[in-house]
Assembly symmetry: C2
Homo-oligomer: 170 residues x 2
Amino acid sequence: MGVVDVARDRSASLVHVGVVRSSPDLPIERRLHAIAEGIRAVLDEHRPDVVAVERVFAQNNRHSVMGTAQASGIALLVAAERGLPAHTHTPSEVKAAISGYGAADKRQVQTMVARVLRLDALPQPADAADALALALCHAWRGGGAAPAAGGGALTPAQRAWADAERGARR
Amino acid sequence: MGVVDVARDRSASLVHVGVVRSSPDLPIERRLHAIAEGIRAVLDEHRPDVVAVERVFAQNNRHSVMGTAQASGIALLVAAERGLPAHTHTPSEVKAAISGYGAADKRQVQTMVARVLRLDALPQPADAADALALALCHAWRGGGAAPAAGGGALTPAQRAWADAERGARR
């Protein structure tokens, strides 16, 4: 999971990065419970305005896709439990947002995340960099296709994006 | 969702059947939250010993599979929250258990569920019959591949199955 703070000028800083792990020895329902608890702990500590989750496609990597879909469902559920709007972005959208290139490789994503957040080292593991890239993508895109629940309640990132768009049109 | 009570002789009776619905107008995170709340309400009212969930495969019906995977993840999570063991069964396993035929159609499943539970009418919609068939499948199979969490703590259905197996070996 990655938590970032995005300013009105779209500059961003790192708030939290980590990987929620669950023991592969546990039965699936206990693993999903551990994931839910891990996400809840991060949301309760950092109180983000909005949650972004990777959009999973059935055609990608069939062996892992069902577990990924279940975990993404858990993340969406936990966001709703906390009253937070949630949005999904595809891996291509995330890569394009962070690197300008929808087919960027993991190293390119790590490198760009480190540059944007002014980190001294590449975020490790690559999944953690992906989470930060997803958070940045969401903030910069201003919520993607779906507006934040509640309509008028723009997040700071959405306001920054809207401001930037207005600026660009002048 | 279907809740059944299975006796030691493997006869079964209907406890509850229903469909947890969520408005398609809601954003996905709110829909998953509504599903979680619906499942929690049934578990809290009927306090089952074990939860069975359909095992979803990526190769089935790509358009709906991700939503189904997310909902199944929610069901597994909610079971774990309540301290219940959960197990998954494939649609073929369920059909074979209820009808003796792994490729049974929806009408055959509805008919057999109605017969087993001595219902006056076919369970409607077909999804509700599928849920009851899944519950019966789990009870009769005695937990499928994975034993109940905790090992020694057999559910009544698992005891019934174990007894029946012992009986058959004599």
